[in-house]
């Protein structure tokens, strides 16, 4: 469901998307328990279909995505917590499967940049504003002050 901003990748992407030309989640996959199914859907949105370009298994029609969707549901039915399901899938397929990378040292730059920029930018703005205001208030030299005084006291 990407808006396509370039035709080349668009074509590529959409060709991949349409490879199966069906819908993602199929009726026979849906769990009877609505609470479990809702959890399965939320988890599916966080997991990548590894043969697609930037699609979660929830949206993909690929066979691999279907296998993963079924696997997620099996683990949930077996009583796993959300975290255990994710850990299980990552242990089998690697971190590539996560659409939201983990908070790890390798991903520090990824997660840190937005926070760092916001604070660094904020501090920079405050400091610049301060220094410029202090230079502005010191703007009058002694001669200027004297001249100003004569003007002000002319009457």
């Amino acid at each position: 469901m990407t808006a396509r901003f370039s035709l080349a990748s668009l074509v590529l992407l959409l060709t991949l998307l349409f490879a199966g030309a069906a819908l993602a989640v199929k009726p026979d996959e849906v769990l009877a328990d609505p609470a479990l199914e809702a959890r399965a859907r939320t988890l599916s949105e966080q997991l990548r279909c590894m043969v697609c370009q930037n699609q979660s298994i929830d949206e993909s029609d690929a066979d691999l995505a279907r296998d993963l969707r079924v696997l997620v549901r099996q683990r949930l039915v077996a009583g796993d917590t959300d975290r255990q399901v994710i850990d299980y899938i990552v242990s089998r397929y690697g971190e590539f499967v996560l659409l939201k990378p983990r908070f790890s040292l390798r991903n520090a730059l990824l997660w840190g940049t937005p926070v760092f920029l916001l604070f660094a930018g904020g501090i920079f703005i405050v400091l610049t504003a301060r220094s410029r205001r202090s230079t502005a208030t010191n703007a009058l030299t002694a001669e200027e002050q004297a001249e100003l005084d004569t003007i002000l006291h002319r009457d």
Partner: protein
């Protein structure tokens, strides 16, 4: 004709070199004649590029399969409109559209820039020419759309079925007008750096270009989002795909530029920052072109196996981004700082806007590039997808949206935050009411939903408050108020409309995400299904034949309260024999601002068919808000102050500063 097009393209390349070198040396040596060369050359270059583009379009329209590009992307049975839009529905053709728009903007500067200082105009055209030259060379060397086939094939290979849609006619041209429009801001910035001079009048020239580019980019993104929504068949409107991000980053940067240019024009402050933003915004456009054109997105390794195009664009990227930033580092210190302001002021609010928007841009940038970087330096691969962006971009947007209504009401230089808060009391009350109504009557379970609706109403009512306050609502007599309202500068309406559009888009997003419902089921003909109070009956599948496809149409009857059919919704599965591809045509029924959306899945052995059905409340506001934002930009462009010629008349009559002219 085809060879004429190719020849025109070569000539346009040669002219772009002239356009780069002659005016720039002219400006350097203060030679009026050399500087004057830029204008006519830019116009001629545009004419030649247009000729070249027309030649390719005619080859497409007449299905001339002796041209390899046409053979690869067209078919004689396609409807004429898709034959023509197919011209830019491929790599080579879309690059030709890219340079066509680039030279078009160059020609506009030449045509409307008569009252620019000669040296500035010459330098702007020279930089514009340089960008053109590299892209002409790129097309001629790696992506020639005019290559011939001998013997000519009888039939073409068809345009990708997904692109056989009206969206292709509108989306890429709008998007490129936006993308490439920022090249003008870039050229103005580089020209200012070359001259080492920048003033408020510079901002007055740059602002309309930014507005034009921003307006088209907004339209292009909104159009692309809607296209994806109805074409892809599962009703999403934004995917955080790298290809989307490639266009979203220049939009975010351009939005920041739009706001900082106001400060620069009105108060002569933030000069250096505005200049840097103009450079960065176009750099992001170039980066987007690189990401999308080089194939690097599929995989770093796929890029490495066929790197010709990618490396070429990477060189262009390095040349322009590196060159302009180096120039910036060398020259920026020469530019003098401008007016002072108190932190609580219109300027302060706009600085805050810029802080959040640039951080958001950087977030999208790093999220898009990080997987590539990880893959390039290690054997590992990671994915960065929607959950990452929702978690980082979302929180950055919320505080920004909260302060938006304050901005336009604050005074320049030193504002009174309490007075502004008082004026916004009504808007705040409306937002609070929206939160309570949502929590009590619609969805008490989701705090996010209630606050989201509140935020949207805060934005919408804040924008209306801006107009009300500036017309003197409640403080002057109704007649005076009407006169004031009519006399408000167009840019005030522009600001209010753009912010209103932002509120509408927010409302659409919150409505769709929080209150949307979905059903997936197998249906037999004659069965009914109910979703969020709407009753649908599946009438069955009917085969049909299109010009170059066959399809199975699923008909659904929308039933009224008495069981009678009030509307028919059709969703289809199309099969295109030439490419052996199938597409899903979603069935959409708009009810108020909301939509019922359904698409067909596989057929079962027992004659049933899988149906996926969505109720998408307020979803049309997402794109409607985009249109309102565009209207806001158009309104600002009509402002007296920005209209071509108006300032120069004033200059003549009042003998004011010579730099008060425009464009």
């Amino acid at each position: 004709m085809v060879e004429t097009g190719h020849f025109a393209l070569v000539l346009a390349f040669a002219l772009s070199l002239v356009q780069t070198l002659v005016p720039m040396f002219g400006a350097h040596m203060n030679n009026q004649k050399m500087m004057a060369v830029g204008g006519p050359v830019a116009v001629t270059g545009f004419t030649l590029t247009a000729l070249s583009f027309a030649a390719l379009a005619i080859a497409y329209a007449t299905s001339d399969f002796s041209v390899a590009n046409v053979w690869d992307n067209s078919h004689s049975l396609q409807p004429l409109i898709y034959k023509i839009t197919g011209t830019w529905g491929n790599h080579e053709g879309s690059m030709l559209l890219w340079v066509l728009i680039l030279t078009f903007f160059g020609a506009l500067v030449a045509a409307f820039g008569r009252n620019l200082p000669a040296a500035l105009r010459a330098n702007v055209l020279a930089v514009q020419g340089a960008i053109g030259a590299t892209f002409f060379l790129f097309i001629l060397a790696t992506s020639n759309p005019f290559a011939r086939l001998n013997p000519a094939p009888i039939e073409g290979r068809d345009l990708n079925p997904i692109l056989q849609d009206l969206g292709l006619a509108i989306h890429p041209p709008l998007l490129y007008l936006g993308y490439v429009g920022f090249s003008i801001c870039f050229s103005f910035s580089v020209a200012a750096l070359i001259e080492g001079r920048i003033d408020a009048s510079w901002a007055r020239w740059v602002r309309p270009w930014t507005l034009v580019a921003w307006m088209f980019l907004t339209g292009g993104i909104a159009m692309g989002s809607y296209w994806a929504y109805y074409e892809l068949g599962w009703g999403g409107f934004w995917f955080w795909d790298p290809v989307e991000n490639a266009s979203f980053m220049p939009w975010l940067g351009g939005t920041a530029l739009l706001h900082s240019a106001i400060v620069m024009e009105k108060r002569s402050a933030l000069k250096i920052w505005t200049l840097l933003l103009a450079i960065l915004t176009f750099s992001l456009s170039l980066l987007g072109t690189f990401l999308v054109r080089s194939g690097v997105l599929t995989s770093v390794h796929a890029f490495a196996t066929d790197p010709t195009r990618g490396v070429f664009i990477l060189c262009i990227l390095t040349l322009f981004i590196g060159g302009s930033l180096a120039l910036f580092a060398l020259r920026a210190s020469r530019l003098t700082a401008g007016g002072l302001f108190h932190p609580i002021s219109r300027e302060g609010a706009l600085v805050l806007n810029n802080l959040f928007l640039t951080t958001a841009t950087a977030t999208v940038l790093i999220g898009t590039l990080y997987p590539l970087a990880v893959e390039a330096v290690s054997a590992d691969k990671i994915s960065v997808g929607a959950p990452f962006f929702n978690l980082t971009f979302g929180p950055l947007m919320v505080p920004l949206l909260v302060v938006v209504p304050f901005g336009p009401l604050l005074a320049w230089k030193r504002g009174d935050i309490f007075a502004v808060a008082q004026r916004l009391m009504a808007a705040f009350a409306a937002a609070l009411l929206a939160v309570l109504v949502t929590a009590l009557f619609i969805d008490g379970a989701s705090v996010f939903a209630a606050l989201g609706v509140g935020l949207a109403f805060w934005l919408i009512c804040g924008a209306l408050t801006d107009i009300a306050v500036k017309s003197g609502f409640g403080t002057v007599a109704p007649g005076v108020m009407l006169r004031r309202f009519a006399g408000l500068p167009r840019s005030v309406f522009g600001t209010a409309l753009a912010h209103l559009g932002l509120g509408l888009t927010t409302l659409g997003i919150v409505g769709t995400l929080c209150f949307g419902t979905e059903k997936i089921l197998s249906m037999h003909a004659g069965e009914t299904v109910q979703l969020s109070g709407h009753m649908l009956r599946f009438e069955g599948l009917y085969p049909a034949q299109g010009p170059n496809y066959s399809e199975d149409r699923g008909r659904f009857a929308l039933l009224g309260a008495d069981g009678s059919t009030t509307a028919v919704i059709t969703s289809a599965k199309r099969s295109y024999p030439v490419r052996q591809m199938t597409t899903t045509e979603s069935g959409i029924k708009t009810i108020g601002f909301s939509q019922l959306y359904l698409s067909l899945g596989d057929e079962g052995t027992d004659g049933s068919v899988v149906v996926r059905l969505w109720w998408k409340p307020l979803v049309t506001l997402i794109w409607g808000g985009g249109l309102v934002m565009m209207a806001g930009a158009a309104m600002s462009l009509m402002d007296r102050r920005l209209r071509v010629g108006a300032p120069s008349r004033r200059r003549k009559s009042a003998g004011a500063v010579p730099s008060a002219s425009l464009l």
